[in-house]
Symmetry: C2
Subunit: 251 residues, 2 copies
Amino acid sequence: MAYTVKAVAEMAGVSVRTLHYYDEIGLLRPAQVTAAGYRLYTDADLERLQQVLFFRELGLSLREIREILDRPDFDRREALRRHRELLLQQQERIRRLIQTIDRTLAAMEGGEPVAGKDLFDGFDPSQYEEEVRRRWGQSREYQESMERIRRYTDADWEAIKAEGKEILEGLAALMDRDPADPEVQSWIRRHHQHIKSRFYTCSPEVYRGLADLYVTDGRFTAFWEKIRPGMAQFMRAAMHAYCDRLEGRQS
Amino acid sequence: MAYTVKAVAEMAGVSVRTLHYYDEIGLLRPAQVTAAGYRLYTDADLERLQQVLFFRELGLSLREIREILDRPDFDRREALRRHRELLLQQQERIRRLIQTIDRTLAAMEGGEPVAGKDLFDGFDPSQYEEEVRRRWGQSREYQESMERIRRYTDADWEAIKAEGKEILEGLAALMDRDPADPEVQSWIRRHHQHIKSRFYTCSPEVYRGLADLYVTDGRFTAFWEKIRPGMAQFMRAAMHAYCDRLEGRQS
DNA sequence: CCTTGACCCTCACGTTACGTGATCCCTTAG
DNA sequence: CTAAGGGATCACGTAACGTGAGGGTCAAGG
């Protein structure tokens, strides 16, 4: 019925120091202390610890947790709702940070062109080559694609680059429209082969992804990173082209 | 050409203490120190400070910023990309936390029923009454709606509650399907009047929102909070019904 | 020349939620 | 009786400053 610090620490998956600290700040006092100063915890203490850990997991401060647990008249729902608001703000902030980083990366990579085969502005396939090889190296499509690429001349690269630019601008134009719009569907079908030949693989998810381009950046990026590493960066370039167009700038 | 701490602090919008600290840790040493120990900053220092603040804004630690700025061979892009990964992880974590809070709130509110007119499980309109009155109190629809509600008997409330449950389950069933699916469109049209009479207002955005239900939770919530405070909670209840259905549980 | 007020400096402690020793005490098995 | 394996209490370290305390510097006005 009575547990020592070590026992509790192991059961709850926290350190002994943490229990000492919770005792110190009055968040979790052991039910009993022996003459020798040993802390002894009961099942009720364990239950309280579980609650503490739950709220800690949610990101509340220990002070707030103490308020919630000690004051029965404290409005827990209101506290949770307030905390939820904070989390939403953090989420929004992080979203903006990621956006800024993406723009910065794009600018940095625009500033120092890779001079050789920078297919699309801001998309450098060589950077992901290793991972791509690991994931698709065995597939016939990959082999064929590499073979094709090996035979390209400088003029070919120029043509491909121009074509890529066209695709980017097409994507930018698409984002205004309804994905169910037959014109959009037709555009996707028209460019299917181009995209496929360049990116080695194209699953049904990619089509849905193209139609889904207008969704928020967070989901957008996560989606593409899952489907195809490196693709997200290409898609972000398209996003930027779109934003530029919105702002009336000509790229 | 030489600025004192105060001048720099005001220009950059940081505290004097912050400049002291940056000097102390070697992140931003002033170009010159007078015999009396006064720090004097140059334009070059200001420029460096701008860079420091930029990276700080992105959430990098001061140690990392020092590495980035001091080592010209340091791969800034790689550092940014790594940081971006961290941010993505944080984002995912926060998303899960919010989800947990929502479930907790739903459980808490299920645990202590409001006993009176809890229309739908987890949706308590009285909670938002004040805001609703501020925003729509003047409208004729609101007045009429309140008048109707005032005349409801207990049996009416029971019926409405049952109907609400049906709508929730309908929504849950919808989420598997393509929003462009004619059946989905028809469902939305069928229930339009019901939803409208219950929520006082229904704009075209709401229809698009219904069709958009399958998007990620973050965007989902933000969208509904914008369209109609309190609606998000109702919609989340639908989400939970959906999840329960996925897990084979019957609610 | 002296004062006044604005500015500058260097400690040094407080913040959060513990991690990491150092040093010493208690309990129990062999 | 002893050794091992706890347990306890300091006490300092973490990141990025905020917030005084106590004292020096500088330019302008009397």
